[in-house]
């Protein structure tokens, strides 16, 4: 039984492993953070959020301040998919952001059918309303 945990990650409940949903690469133990099996890049936020006004002239430019914040980009080491980003204070330890309780997860999914395509959820549709 495999559980789709995020857009790019699933957990194999039997093997207790995180897997990449894009390339099926086994990332690592589901008892640990999936980030431990990822490649990390320390991104200067100005590269993603470009200055709109001239950084030579102005103190604030619409770009985040690279001395205040970095973007940690986590890549699947096999396919290069960007699985997660983390806007971090420089030097702040990365968060163990998803720590599932595996026995509980297994018990919960023992009562369910395996879900192979993520459930998107209901769309907001326009009501017919009333005319004038």
């Amino acid at each position: 039984m495999k559980v789709l945990m995020t857009e790019y990650l699933r957990i194999d409940l039997d093997a207790e492993q995180w897997e990449c949903r894009v390339c099926d690469h086994v990332i690592g133990s589901a008892g640990k953070s999936y980030k431990e099996g990822m490649l990390v890049h320390n991104r200067d936020p100005r590269e993603i959020h470009p200055p709109i006004i001239d950084p030579e002239k102005y103190r604030f430019t619409f770009s985040p301040d690279p001395e205040w914040v970095r973007i940690l980009e986590y890549y699947c080491p096999h396919c290069g998919t960007q699985v997660e980003t983390e806007y971090a204070v420089p030097g702040h330890p990365p968060l163990h952001d998803m720590e599932p309780d595996l026995p509980a997860l297994r018990a919960q999914w023992a009562r369910r059918e395996e879900v192979k395509e993520a459930v998107v959820g209901p769309a907001v549709t326009a009501d017919k309303g009333h005319g004038h």
Partner: protein, 758 residues
Amino acid sequence: MSEMNTPVAAKLPSPEEVALIKKFLNDTTLFLGPDPEIMQNHDLMPRSEVEDECMRKVGDAHTIAKIRDRIQAGCDEGYEMVEQMGAAPGAKWGDVITGVYSASGDLAIASAGGVLIFSALVHHPIKFIIKNWVNDPTVGVNEGDGFIHNDSRYGNVHNTDQSMILPIFHKGKLVCWVASTVHEGENGAIEPGGMPSMAESPCDEGLKMCPFKVVENYQIKRDILTFLQNSVREPKLQYEDMKVKLFACLRIKQRIEETLNTDGPEALISTLRTTMENVRAEVKRRVSEWPDMTVRTYIIQDSTLRENCVVKINCKLTKTGDRLIFDFRGSSPEFTNRATNTIVAGLKGMLAQVFLCYVWPDLPRGQAAFAPIEVITDPHSIVNCSYDAPNSQSLMSIFTGFTAGQHAVAKFLYSCPEKYTKVHAPTFNMINTFIWGGVSQHGETLGNLCADLNGMGAGATVDRDGEHALAPIFATMADIGEQELNEEEVPFLQLVSKKMTRDAIAPGKYRGGQGYTMMVATKDSEQWGFMTVCQGAKFPPLQGLFGGYACGSYPLCKVQGVDVYDVLLNEPHKFKHSIEEIMNERPFEEATYTTHHMGMGFEISKRGELFMISQGAGAGYGDLLERDPAGVIRDIEEGLMSPGVAERLYKVKFDPDTLAVNHEATAAARDAERKARIARGVPYAEFIKGWNKPTPPTHLQYFGCWGDDVAKLYMGSPDKFRDANAPRPNYMPHPKDVRIAELESRLLAMGAMGGEKQ
């Protein structure tokens, strides 16, 4: 009243003596401050004997559904009345709410539109009234009474929101309460508009109305009204909206009475209680379908609105069985003299919005949906501040707390087979708008804000882009206002409005909805000014979702020493319609061009000077290399993104003239970028060796825990901290004093102090 702690060895008082002591203390209470028993609790009150009996008599689901719909319609009618008749800009554009509360004070049913958080928090003042005024012979609660309230320490978000609260009687017995709340704006604080960022203590925050009686026999008492009018900058607004709220409550009362006459009080009481208990039980059931997991996130506030610094909102969300626990321990200590603190009830109200607006919008809107969810905080923290701390800018902490909640919840929802909405990246969370005040072109003293605060770029979802500047995170069906209408009453124009700010993006497989540019300039008054109250000019106040990026940062730009109205009259070609062009091209020769963080204290403006900001984007969802190239081109065509930025970030190759996509070249560029990621990415274990630091950086003023050690809260530097459970004062120096000291030390180093005696 606290129980006595008696030493074990001493003689224990008898039960009679204990009762006597309690009565003595109750009878001689010097001051009825906010009651922690009320203020720390957000769960439903226990089912009363009357409710129990009514539920036994009336339990038919159809009757209950019918009555609930009638009451809901009554609330919606009251909401419409306030929205149509209210004088406050907030009222006109939907920042209002109405609701019906049980006899014990719980919000059972609220209007479908409006700011849910208000009424989700009015149960506190109602419970204060029940506890203190019902049996007080000098006050009492009688048919025809109405109570007013705005002091957030007794409930609700901030002192700019005023509530009118009416008890509803049937044959002499209290059966329920109705209330109406409006974001009024002006409240006599140190700055106009009701949300002063300059407040350094609660005494700077204007009117502080603990719940008191202002209506008798359905009439507003003129003496008290006059006192309230005399305490604020907009006496007319104060009167008008008190009347509007009273009459909205009376309309709901009329609808309730119709129900009482047709179905009887038992049916009404049973409906209110059954609705709440059913919602509470359903929430427990829905939570139990989530995966058992702990999710961690943090959001950074990059300013106190007075100075830039790094203020952490730390959130650990744990789900076990049918329990859901928000743990905000490790968040910044409260600021003793800054206004960005919130009482914990405000945070809870905003978290309730995560669920009722974004996760379970199908549930009846009331207090019950959040009732079983638990919240843990440190004492005297920025998300659970003390009585003595100012909180007029609590929005900063409840909004960033909301985002932490929204971000964490999304990571639970993805795997759930049962969904009521789509998984959603965080929506922008700051009110990038102008608060204004002064004397209008008609000679009236005003203080309020542009309803553009309601425009926040929405986060992307699992299968579509975020909507632009659609709605605020704190309300449903709110509007961003018609500036042309406002201009009849206020002496400034929005010279540019509702034009998307190009390249202020939140990229992803699905991008965040974007915000628009606002440029304002005063025209017909010599006594008019603006303020802005937002964070995020240095550090984005969001996180992205599943590989998507957050928004960028948003500054305030000023152009002074120019009258753009003269420019528009004489040299109109010089005027530009984007911040980018005006700041980079500097078209007005004599003017000065400056940038600032978004915490501008109230500033008087001169005719024709430009104040320019942009609303923010919601966060992106997913890896941007998976974005459909057609979506990238559409963003270019719609002016959301420049072609160069689009090509560099999204690796889409297209003809610069026709914007026709070269799909093969795009696929190749994207493959190359994935390989480049693998080449530049560093294995985690190796990465953290170089990245992780044991303490916050010395170049930042950092507040809150570092890493997972939530027991130690930093207070501005690596060597200043407090034990999370042991509050300490946390004073910030005046930013001008800081600047003066900087400049003086430079003068001293240059030997240019002129021998000034110390």
